[in-house]
């Protein structure tokens, strides 16, 4: 998400970084670019304008012009401003009623039904007992869709095929929730235009009946300038409690997130990043802001790594990397640990500039390649793995044969390994500069980039 925007901002800041001191015209020039980048990223025109005005004011107020590291200072100001725009903290779900109800609303095809399923799964993981309610009485097979998702997770779904009155469905849902002792009801509603008053009124009636703890506007991350009107209308009609941003696994720049937040002031609570039910997580504005600025979603990556990677192992590897004693054995470990992290695509995108790296690259080709790398390393003796410099022609032939590849491919691997070591040493230096845990992890992950992964 946000690739091009972060790419552009990076371009701007590269210029800024290069300057020892910046003049006011430098600031203006950079901000004009930032503004265009925001507009190009689908941030609403007025939102972008306000954003730039705020940044300019702060930049001048803080006397950036005389500072020693003006580029960094501006990056910080822009980052802080973005964080503020996106919401300064992660908003929790309100679940205080017994049972609590959630309502999913939004435009056609935004991802309401899928997000209903995802939210149910997420709540179940939190120890809740969700009940899905199929309240889309219009779209063909909408109820079947929700029911199918419920079945996948063994979560009950209230389905009344043929029923056209959402209030009847709501009544049945309440009864069933009591019967099954469910503590949270998730109402999936039909997609509708924000200007379709008849259908919006249907939502108002449903809301007044079920008095939901949460009304979540489901918004496609690729939404353009109209995000502002969509959010405004739904919020005015229903007083939404928050939003879910979907399809963040694509390359939409997601400026709609900024627009929504700034016109409604309502928090974005969750992010959907895939078609599968587990592709769902709480939305983190700070991370999104960092990401917009092209610093990579380092925090998310750290958490993801912590969940999946043996931290002791990771620390050891990091140490080795820094000291430049990274061996092929370590590389093999990396290959295997990396697999547990998930698809390479999603990991690389969390890295600084990673999104640009992925581009249109054929990652599945790499996957095969990486599997062969694993085979090649496995075919080496422990000593060879420790001291690759002893790999003479004879040894190479043996290894190639043992792993079913050609010698040229093995040579290629060794070259790459050499490059990787070099990159790691560089990263090691960078990480000292950044001096933060996040930075360390990022550098490590960047090092791992050449390692294996699992496709979706």
């Amino acid at each position: 998400m946000f690739e091009s925007l972060s790419g552009k901002l990076q371009g701007v800041f590269k210029d800024l970084r290069g300057l020892g001191k910046i003049s006011e015209s430098n600031v203006s020039e950079s901000l004009r670019e930032v503004r265009l980048a925001l507009l190009d990223a689908d941030v609403n025109f007025k939102v972008a304008k306000q954003f730039i005005a705020n940044v300019r004011e702060k930049a001048i107020g803080e006397k950036v012009i005389q500072s020693i590291h003006p580029g960094q200072q501006i990056i910080k100001i822009i980052n802080d401003e973005l964080v503020e725009l996106l919401g300064s903290q992660n908003a929790e779900l309100k679940l205080d009623a017994k049972p609590s109800s959630m309502m999913m609303v939004g435009l056609h095809g935004a991802g309401k039904t899928t997000s209903s399923g995802k939210l149910a799964k997420w709540l179940m993981k939190q120890g809740r007992k969700p009940l899905l309610v199929a309240a889309d009485v219009y779209r063909p097979a909408a109820m079947d869709q929700l029911e199918a998702l419920g079945k996948q997770m063994n979560i009950p779904t209230v389905v009344r095929r043929g029923e056209k009155d959402v209030l009847v469905i709501a009544r049945e849902a309440k009864r069933e929730a009591a019967e099954r002792e469910c503590d949270v009801l998730i109402f999936d509603t039909a997609g509708r235009l924000q200007i379709d008053e008849v259908l919006v009124q249907e939502l108002v009636r449903l809301r007044d009946d079920i008095k939901p703890q949460e009304i979540l506007l489901v918004l496609d991350a690729a939404t353009g300038q109209e995000a502002v009107n969509v959010a405004t209308h739904f919020d005015e009609a229903l007083d939404i409690s928050g939003a879910i941003l979907t399809k963040l696994d694509g390359d939409a720049r997601g400026g709609a997130a900024l627009s929504l937040k700034s016109v409604t002031g309502k928090p974005i609570k969750f992010a959907g990043a895939g078609e599968k039910l587990e592709d769902f997580e709480p939305f983190h504005p700070e991370r999104m802001a960092t990401r917009i600025l092209g610093m990579g979603d380092v925090v998310s990556l750290v958490e993801k790594a912590a969940e999946n990677v043996d931290m002791d192992e990771a620390r050891k590897l990091e140490e080795k990397m820094r000291k430049g004693v990274f061996t092929l054995d370590d590389f093999l470990d990396q290959l295997r640990q990396m697999k547990r992290l998930g698809p390479l695509e999603s990991i690389v995108k969390m890295l600084p500039g990673g999104a640009d790296m992925v581009g249109g690259a054929d990652l599945s080709k790499h996957e095969k390649e990486f599997r062969r790398m694993e085979a090649m390393i496995c075919a080496m003796t422990p000593e060879e793995r420790n001291r690759p410099q002893i790999l003479n022609a004879k040894r190479r032939q043996r290894i190639a044969k043992g792993s079913g590849v050609r010698v040229a491919e093995l040579n290629n691997l060794m070259n790459r390994f050499g490059q990787m070591q070099k990159m790691m040493r560089k990263m090691g230096k960078m990480q000292k500069m950044m001096g933060k845990m996040g930075g360390k992890m990022a550098s490590k992950m960047a090092g791992r980039m050449g390692a294996g992964f699992r496709m979706r």
Partner: protein, 319 residues
């Protein structure tokens, strides 16, 4: 938008709704036009400042940078050649948009007695399945024999969704099991359509993000398999775009076009408030004609695309 007034009589019952919609859209468009006029008339010359504001105004209609700059440039030229007196920025801009939208043939391929296979492709939730149904309905009303194929075997109830439409429209449907190979379903559908001597076969494919390489490969396979069964199939590959989408639509079009050469675009959800300015950027770059627009969820909410109407609707010009 203006072209809504061209909807045929069968939905005249909903005309009240469309009228309201038109009025409302008229208002937002007039705001855009007003904004542009204000910018242009405030200063006699298109200065850097006013050009930048103009840029933002056009961007706010989802035009995108390339097209915006092109319109501004055309405006500047028109200003220089015609002088201020005859200068009508809106007209110049609308003409420019119309020109950009006029490349290629917007009509649907008609091969007479031979089977024409049409594949619907696009990212998630844009309206592929619904467009399949609408197009089947449209072709059927034109006296053609039509079949459909449920090649989205992945998304929950995707097959059921098309099945409901096939029953409602009484159009034969080829389908497989959930999780089945979509290429196999497509293959069977072509066989079936050939044996029935159908005029058209509409292939509904699963939504997929253009950034997912393996899914794009899957789509290529579906097309390849059909091509083996029937020379030239699919004869039309229509990218279904959601009018609400912003600049990402251009990436979508680029990437899909790379994977499965597109023969046309369908813009859905134009009954909403989005102006779909990004279509102009897409056509400008890729020269793929828009063939249809979707203006609602009913079977007859599909209309052929008319560049002039579209361009004038964007700028709120009267015919």
């Amino acid at each position: 938008m203006r072209y809504l007034s061209a909807v045929d009589d069968s939905i005249s019952k909903t005309m009240g709704f469309f009228q309201k919609l038109k009025d409302r859209l008229g208002r937002t468009q007039n705001k855009l036009v007003h904004e542009i006029k204000r910018i242009v008339t405030r200063s006699p010359k298109l200065t850097a400042d006013s050009a930048e504001e103009l840029e933002a105004a056009l961007l706010s209609a989802d035009f995108g940078m390339t097209m915006t700059l092109r319109i501004i440039e055309a405006t500047r030229k028109a200003y220089e050649s015609k002088g201020k007196g005859e200068f009508d920025f809106v007209k110049v801009a609308a003409d420019e948009v119309e020109r950009a939208l006029s490349s290629g043939d917007p009509s649907l391929l008609d091969q007479g007695d031979d089977l024409t296979v049409i594949s619907m492709v696009g990212v998630n939730g844009t309206g592929k399945t619904t467009t399949c149904a609408k197009l089947a309905n449209r072709l059927k009303l034109q006296g053609k024999t039509v079949g459909m194929a449920a090649c989205d075997t992945f998304r929950a109830a995707a097959i059921d969704q098309l099945k409901v439409w096939s029953e409602r429209l009484d159009v034969p449907l080829t389908m497989g099991d959930y999780g089945a190979d979509p290429a196999a379903v497509a293959h069977d559908a072509v066989s079936s359509a050939l044996s029935k001597n159908s005029d058209y076969l509409l292939i509904d494919t699963a939504g997929r993000l253009h950034t997912k390489h393996n899914l794009m490969q899957e789509l290529q396979k579906v097309h390849r398999v059909m091509g083996k069964k029937l020379e030239g199939a699919p004869h039309e590959t229509l990218l279904v775009l959601d009018a609400t989408t912003g600049m990402n639509a251009l990436n979508q079009a680029r990437e899909f076009n790379k994977a499965v050469p597109l023969t046309g675009l369908v813009i859905t959800k134009l009954d909403g408030t989005s102006k779909a300015g990004m279509v102009v950027a897409i056509q400008n770059e890729l020269k793929i004609p828009v063939k249809f627009i979707g203006v609602g969820e009913q079977p007859d909410d599909l209309q052929p695309f008319v560049a002039r109407e579209f361009a004038h609707a964007i700028f709120g010009l009267d015919e």
